[in-house]
Amino acid sequence: MSAEKKKKIIIDFSKCVGCHTCELVCSLTHEGIVNPSLARIRVINSNWTMMPMNCRHCEDAPCIDACPTDALYHDEDGAVMLAEDKCIGCFMCAIACPYGIPRFNEITGVMFKCDLCADRRAEGKEPACVEACPSGALIFEDVNELMRLLREKSPPEASTGIECPSGASTLGG
């Protein structure tokens, strides 16, 4: 059996500069307005160490276990999704989640959480926050895959200067 690639948003804590761009594009993508309090990702300031936190999309997600109406489920990409029509806004998921990710939307009356930008994924794009992050602190990749890449990553100075300007779809340059 091979590694099924389950891409998640991976955080490189050392790179975050705390600019909150991810929050802006998140609320813009999902709600159509710029409003960090409606963003699914939030930058936490812990003694000036800035940490963007979104849903970890756990494999054994406690929120899914806790939901009394089965509104939370794993989709085929491994993302933890929330079916708004089933959600009754009981807050059980928010209590079960160790990171406190699911939050309550006062307007719709149901919970909301990161869905790894389901609409964008369907188009083959990265989640909006990953695309917008100016410092490269957010990476959209399977965690094991990223570790594999890092193990063999050649440092920049070892580069031989071979250019591949025609892009990632060709070998040549």
Partner: protein, 601 residues
């Protein structure tokens, strides 16, 4: 399926159709590696096809032990060789074979011809084609770097350099910059298919039948390797190999010159000094191998991997008569970067010196290599291989079966080597020669005699110039090599560890029970199938020979003064070899032999 990955990947470049077949279909009959590859070649390649036709197939196969036992990292490559237009084969170590298995494939079979230069990337079940037009003329190093830049730095890459792209017939297939499936011009076959590179990464892993038994056997094999005196020797092997080959009286000089090269010892000592004092060496190993027989050699900011055991560096200094190790290093770098077969190309250049195209031991060699790679001027003729060059220039050359350049050992005094060169299907002596007692007759005489006694029943068979018992030795060591290549084990450690242990590891990994006798039966079967492939292409006793010049050449000076090959005795050896193999007098497998091995034409 245990021990095997379970599938063989078939890629047709003309139609870009990718399909898989279960390995199970072949495994019980042909073991793996070289055995299965030969079977597929026999089934797929038509008898009238030429090496550069799209009908030719390039088959890369790993064995059941590849990636599962110590020193087992080999991948065997079989195709129609453009040098001989007969069955060609070569094997390579490194990580490619193991990673291919971890991606879920026991082997790759490539047929057809791509319209435009392309590369193939295999990541688990995902097989993608990539345009390689821009990097078509890159050398091996740049190609590997370029492919890694596709987004996966952990891929293992099999690729050709510019020489392979220009269909130079001494081009090999290079594996991730370091290991080379050198012999037989297989890189040119890849080039003729417009295939620049194959990259592979995998995460599936290989299941084994009996974990505990395999681990215990592996530990025992490893323990024996670490305890053998050879293990310590490997530490500074690069420095010592030239001198020890000279002591074993193995090298030949220039284009098989009759005179001994008086400065040989000085050149070997210079080489020793180069590795001990001038260059820095970083020992390294292939997948799961404790031996560290190769090293990254760094000198003046340039770096190249070098395998000691094959004697590539000694081949350069002796065949090209280079005393200056810095020049030898430059030649090595050039050949390695272009993915050229070092022994073959050195033999071609030495031949060029006979017809006055280059002065051996001088800088001119470097520009001649460039001319061969780019097929410019006389390089265009030399790139066709030594046999065709000799037909062009009208000056006789030295080659073995079908036009294959000779190996780094002198063929004339070593009867076993000359027999292997004539009867072996690929003409590649290195596919049979490791472990010959004659090779170590002057360095470890007692051991050589013991091996000769055990295998041929006659101590005198160890003497290089004796014709006695040589047929038996060649048949035996060919079998051992076939077993090694079919299981995916490296030749050198394979021969120093008892076959029982490898059989035990194989049984533990696959869950089928194997004994040394059973493995030798498989080897005989695979050897006969290889023969059938070539017989179908018109090979018989007459074609099992060496170039005419070798029979007329008599060494005039040095330790072998007065030695030549006696044609009658040579023919007798051949007949004895055919008898041992169960083939008729004409070298064609007899009906009862085919029946015994359950083979059909």
């Amino acid at each position: 399926m245990f021990g095997y990955a379970g599938k063989i990947l078939f890629i047709d470049l003309t139609s870009r159709v990718v399909r898989t077949e279960p390995t199970e279909k072949y495994a019980a009959d042909f073991l793996g590696g070289r055995g299965i590859a030969t079977k597929i070649a026999y089934d797929l390649i038509p008898a009238e096809a030429n090496a550069f036709d799209p009908e030719n197939a390039l088959i890369m196969m790993t064995g059941p032990l590849t990636g599962a036992a110590p020193s087992s990292s080999r991948i065997d490559i079989v195709s129609l060789s453009p040098v001989t237009n007969l069955l060609g084969g070569s094997s390579a170590g490194g990580d490619f074979g193991a990673v291919l298995k971890f991606a879920g494939y026991d082997g790759i079979v490539i047929t057809g011809k791509a319209e435009k230069p392309m590369g193939i990337r295999i990541i688990d079940d995902e097989v993608t084609f990539h345009d390689a037009e821009h990097c078509w003329e890159y050398d091996v190093y740049d190609t590997v770097d370029c492919i890694k830049r596709l987004g996966r730095e952990d891929v293992q890459v099999a690729c050709i350099g510019k020489a392979g792209a220009n269909l130079v017939k001494t081009a090999g297939i290079s594996f991730s910059k370091r290991n080379l499936a050198a012999r037989g011009g297989l890189g040119a076959v890849m080039g003729s298919k417009n295939l620049k590179a194959i990259a592979v990464a995998g995460t599936k892993g290989v299941k084994v039948r009996d974990t505990k038994r395999l681990m215990e056997t592996n530990l025992e094999i490893e323990r024996r390797m670490l305890e053998s005196p050879a293990f310590k020797k490997y530490e500074n092997w690069h420095a010592n190999i030239s001198l020890s080959l000279l002591k074993a009286r193995r090298p030949y000089f220039g284009d098989y010159e009759e005179e001994f090269w008086e400065e040989a010892e000085e050149a070997a000592k210079n080489a020793k000094k180069f590795f001990e004092e001038m260059a820095t060496l970083r020992p390294n190993s292939c997948f799961a191998c404790p031996l560290r027989c190769w090293a990254w050699v760094e000198y003046k900011g340039e770096e190249a991997p070098m395998v000691a055991c094959q004697g590539t560096f000694p081949a350069i200094i002796f065949i090209l008569k280079i005393k200056d190790p810095e020049l030898a290093w430059k030649v090595y770098l050039r050949l390695q970067r272009e993915g050229l077969d070092i022994m073959g190309t050195a033999a071609v250049i030495a031949y060029a010196s006979r017809v006055g195209l280059v002065r051996l031991g001088s800088e001119e060699i470097l520009s001649l290599i460039d001319e061969i790679v780019n097929r410019e001027g006389p390089g265009n003729v030399l790139a066709e291989g030594i046999k065709r060059a000799s037909e062009h220039f009208g000056v006789p050359a030295v080659y073995v079966k079908g036009g294959m350049e000779s190996w780094s050992s002198d063929v004339r005094p070593f009867r076993g080597v000359s027999l292997a060169g004539a009867v072996s299907e690929s003409g590649s002596i290195s596919r049979a020669i490791h472990g010959f007692p004659a090779s170590s007759y002057y360095t470890k005489p007692e051991k050589a005699r013991k091996v000769a006694k055990e295998v041929a029943g006659d101590e005198s068979a160890a003497e290089p110039t004796s014709y006695r018992g040589k047929a038996k030795l060649v048949a035996y060591f060919e079998d051992e090599h076939i077993i090694a290549d079919s299981l995916g084990v490296c030749d050198t450690p394979m021969l120093s560890i008892p076959l029982e242990l490898w059989a035990e590891a194989l049984s533990a990994a696959t869950g089928m029970e194997f004994t040394p006798e059973k493995l030798h039966f498989y080897a005989g079967k695979i050897r006969t199938l290889e023969r059938m492939f070539n017989v179908r292409r018109g090979v018989d006793r007459e074609k099992d020979t060496l170039s005419e010049r070798l029979f007329r050449s008599v060494i005039r000076s040095g330790p072998w003064a007065g030695v030549g090959i006696d044609r009658e005795k040579f023919e007798e050896m051949k007949l004895e070899y055919y008898r041992l193999r169960g083939w008729g007098e004409n070298g064609i497998p007899a009906e009862e032999t085919l029946e015994r091995y359950d083979l059909e034409w």
